[in-house]
Assembly symmetry: C2
Homo-oligomer: 204 residues x 2
């Protein structure tokens, strides 16, 4: 059951680990995490939240502010102990499913909570994936000496360039990570030594 989307579940868990929220805000944050594109719809989010609730990974106390003020129907979700464990487990995976386009961004967004070794694994896996794609396009391009429209050609050339660019980006990140593993400078980490658990969620 909990095997449905994977990516969304991870994103929700990760976001809730930072601070408790309700669905609507979750959806807004999600746009930031998943990139401006890949917007998630409520039709996916709420079912996901439900299944997470059923599985016991998150809870919602509606009992708060019962003292007489306005009773909104806002549900504030937060991680349970099981949920935190689940998150750590997911974060530690870094398997081949993490190299995918939609998965990678989310995994990367939560690198702050991720072990350094896993970070490196994901980065390198992603690079292989991209190089593989590069290979495909290149060979297709040379094979396509046949009769291709020059617009099609230009499109593929541009696509190839984008991939090459991303590979270079990954290479820089990998280098930085390796340095970080060796000497741990505060190169790319606002939270350098301490391992998270900073739940300072003071909104408005």
């Amino acid at each position: 059951m909990s095997r449905k989307s994977g990516v969304l579940e991870l994103a929700v868990l990760g976001l809730l680990h930072e601070s408790p929220m309700h669905g609507y805000e979750l959806s807004k944050r999600l746009k930031g995490v998943l990139g401006p594109l890949r917007a998630i719809s409520y039709g996916s989010l709420y079912p996901c939240l439900s299944s997470l609730l059923d599985a016991g990974f998150i809870t919602t106390d509606d009992s708060a502010s019962e003292s007489g003020a306005g009773r909104r129907k806002k549900h504030v979700y937060k991680l349970t102990a099981d949920g935190k464990e689940r998150l750590q487990e997911q974060l530690a995976e870094g398997g081949p499913s993490s190299w995918d386009d939609e998965s990678f961004d989310v995994r990367f967004a939560f690198f702050g909570q991720t072990d350094a070794a896993v970070r490196l694994r994901i980065l390198e896996g992603r690079r292989s994936r991209l190089e593989e794609r590069q290979e495909n396009v290149t060979s297709a391009l040379s094979r396509a000496r046949e009769r291709v429209d020059s617009y099609t050609l230009e499109l593929q050339r541009h696509g190839l360039e984008s991939v090459e660019r991303e590979v270079r980006w990954l290479e820089e990140l990998i280098a930085t990570e390796r340095d970080g593993v060796a000497a741990r400078p505060h190169r790319l980490n606002t939270t350098p030594a301490t391992t998270g658990t900073a739940i300072e969620g003071e909104d408005s």
Copy 2:
């Protein structure tokens, strides 16, 4: 009914205009047109073919090679007169639906069959779309001075850079197109002066 996917329909029509094919080859060509990602599945292709068939935009003569040789169950599809008309119609549109990520690539791939004015419109529309996205990310980035993970920040920075890059690419194309409209050099056109209708589909 024929309002189902739009993009796929256009791609199929455009590919079949170049030369008649069967579904399997169509699917392979599609990978090239839609980019290495965005691979289309048979679960979408065959239904699309069926509806196109029903609508009378394409046909298949299975009557060929009935003389006694091996009767394959290969269906070779080709455009009908209605289909060609439909394709021209779709190609002439260039409306707001063409600025989308998935649509744009396909539209661009068939620029060879597209009118110069429409090409320009699509290119510029796509640019606006991208600039809008750029705006969003930029403002999100400055608003996100709050407490963002530096990995998340790096991700968004990279995303923004990609968008900026693509805008620059578009700008070059637009400039080239404008020159082409004004002076028509064979800058980006294998078929410079003649307005399409070159159906030299001689496959092996």
